[in-house]
Symmetry: C2
Subunit: 439 residues, 2 copies
């Protein structure tokens, strides 16, 4: 999953680069607005953003993929119905409350769609709703509806940034990636930092293009791109109830060959999924796990995920501690649980290019241990600081300015299946963030 | 999984109770010794214990179960062979290094067995080896062999405590549970605090009885007891490479009916597995998850484990934050991934007796939120203290003196399958412990 470089010297440099990713493809407008609200379920006032993304006129060329979680949110339920509609005219997104499992959730989502449609002069069934945030709480429908005129008034055709910023929750920075091709472009935005092990899609991803790729081709291209990007990442193994990826074309420019479009789409999706992991909740280290020699790609991915999701491996990485036996335990746990045949004599494991396991045994010595510690320390995005309050860890607000990874390689020695999985460590900042997410 | 009460007013009271669990069944001796060593792989000197548990004479009546991890440790490889031997004469256990994946591991384990056998006057194949600790490092075989005479000299028939203490690693206190029946007894000891989601057994458990239950009956009873105790718990979802449960009878007292013996064995195993979770690395809250209405017991257990292993649920519990939407997400993630049919309208979820989800929707309000916070706070074993060094959290050394749990109930509304799973939260102490376990 090689992705575009993210090595910046400063936050200002990152911001400048971000602007280069933001120009909207032809034929789209984007806007946003903010409301103040108090949830019905808990007496804590908060702020919520609503974003609008709309093609200039409703288009038949759109594709969407949703979570495999068995309790999908109301917007996902409505979104699945929209796939059968002839045209998509707008996407309306809010953060802070995910509208999952709340009483009357589908009605609330449809009401927002109808209000947005009225202001935009399109049909309610042409609006796709999308929500992210706390599960179980009710949307403040009246306040949201009241904010829609302001969101419509703010629509502009220059930049996707207002939407990328409006959909953030615990994200530290907006995630935007762009590919230019055939005189047009594909621009994608994503949000997502925790509850990330997508199983079909990541939390919220919106991809816009002006290239005139027809509906069925768009859907095939999205299937393929998602499979090799968002489905290969994990922050914390928790698959969200709201995962949604939407791709919309305004059809303004002639499409390139399907292969060329698919390649560009895959790159944008891979870049965005790397952004999601790199900005995962509390992430200090991104871990890139290349697995090969498996029976098939799915088996290779499952081994990579088993390593990436092991709490013990994640904590060791957080501590720059090359406790490499835990890698072996994680692979062995998974293989034992699913009955994957493994020959230890053919297994090869490397970290930072150093051989850890070969010919059926660990290959360790104190000098190698020191090199492994250096590899882990070198890949650290930031180190924990003693928290002023004693207990509550906060990530630094400055953007982590490099793209280094902990590099793991696992050769299972047994077949043509290969996959590259992106994971992350488990830190005090993750625990702090999620021990009181809603406050 | 109701277990014997553990509500103590002080550490001294706990210690006094522990003594009552420790009398050895007739026909056993236990001893231990300590060595200083420096691992070949890393220049950090440390201490290691070696423990001996032995029937007075080799016995055909023994049973053992081992990890399903596909990379079992050398002692597990040797232990599996021992199951076919006519008699067991001793168990030799070390902590600190697990002898997993290290070059020459099986030879090292066999050498320790041969040395122990020589000192005890039995056959090498009558000795079962067992090791726990760092994965990938080599056993200091010469030093261990040198300590065996001292361990043999310390053998005594009064108490199992020296072995229970010698096998500890990150455990905060020795774990001993006893059942008296039919004039004899079953006494079990366990170690294990991290890398705990047993898949056949927990890390190291040794069960001794003087009741004359024949070999095949012992093995059946152990299968059944393990299935309903150690296999129902999880601390961090990581299945160890060393999980081992051994049951040995000295045959000194007439056996009761098979059902009576099985019931007592199951109780000892359940009590020990609760001890393992309650003393899990960094655990602040034990979470007891009752699941019913599933197609079968395995399906119910899998749903319980999905909740217990969700990092987001675990962090919310750590923070006394009733972020109950995450329960729904965890159940839905699992059901979606394995294709378990779920009808939200029939689903019922409770925490601390409060209904969270019923009739297809969350049932939340601010007053209920306050009661849920009180339930979570009331089940807290201890709260984190600001660490003196700013980053390194240590659990208090005093024994957590209560047996309260976070009580979750999930009725899937669909079948006769039920299970009770024990899990734990995810805390700063767990991250600290595992970010530099080997130092």
């Amino acid at each position: 999953m090689p992705s575009t470089s993210l090595a910046f010297a400063s936050q200002a440099e990152h911001r400048a680069w971000l602007e280069t990713q933001c120009p909207l493809p032809e034929g789209f407008r984007v806007g946003s607005a903010r409301i103040e609200f108090t949830p019905v379920e808990a007496p804590k006032p908060g702020r919520m953003n609503v974003a609008l993304l709309a093609p200039d006129r409703p288009t038949p060329a759109f594709a969407a993929k949703f979570t495999r979680n068995a309790f999908p949110g109301a917007p996902v339920v409505v979104g699945r119905r929209r796939l059968a509609e002839p045209r998509l005219g707008a996407i309306v997104v809010n953060n802070k409350i995910s509208n999952v499992g709340a009483p009357g959730g589908v009605e609330a989502a449809e009401r927002i769609c109808a209000e947005a449609a009225r202001h935009l002069g399109i049909a309610p069934a042409e609006v796709l709703p999308s929500s992210t945030g706390v599960i179980g709480w009710r949307l403040p429908v009246d306040q949201l509806a009241g904010a829609l005129p302001a969101a419509v008034a703010s629509l502009q055709a220059r930049t996707v940034l207002p939407a990328a910023e409006a959909i953030m929750t615990t994200d530290l920075y907006p995630k935007v990636r762009r590919a230019g091709l055939a005189g047009g472009s594909i621009v994608g935005i994503a949000k997502g930092a925790g509850m990330i092990e997508p199983s079909l899609a990541t939390m919220l991803v919106f991809l816009l293009t002006d290239l005139d790729v027809p509906r069925e081709e768009l859907r095939t291209a999205l299937d393929e791109a998602v499979e090799e990007s968002f489905n290969d990442i994990t922050v914390d193994s928790d698959t969200s109830t709201s995962d949604t990826v939407v791709l919309v074309s305004s059809g303004r420019r002639r499409a390139p060959a399907a292969r060329e479009f698919g390649e560009a789409l895959r790159r944008v999706c891979r870049d965005l999924s790397e952004d999601v992991v790199r900005n995962g909740e509390g992430v200090h280290h991104v871990v890139r796990i290349a697995v090969w020699g498996a029976p098939d790609r799915a088996a290779a991915r499952a081994v990579g995920k088993a390593i990436a999701n092991s709490p013990l491996v994640k904590c060791a990485v957080a501590g720059n501690d090359p406790n490499v036996g835990r890698l072996l335990a994680a692979v062995g746990k998974h293989a034992g649980a699913v009955g994957l045949p493994l020959d230890p004599v053919r297994l090869l494991v490397r970290m930072g290019g150093e051989i850890l396991f070969e010919k059926g045994a660990m290959q360790l010595d104190p000098a190698k241990e020191r090199r492994l510690v250096a590899h882990l320390s070198g890949a650290e995005l930031y180190a924990s600081r003693p928290p002023p309050a004693g207990l509550t860890f906060k990530p630094p607000s400055s953007f982590p300015a490099h793209e280094r990874c902990v590099a793991l390689e696992v050769d299972l020695g047994g077949g043509p299946g290969a996959c590259e999985v992106l994971g992350a460590d488990l830190t005090h900042e993750y625990v702090t963030e999620n021990a009181d997410y809603r406050s």
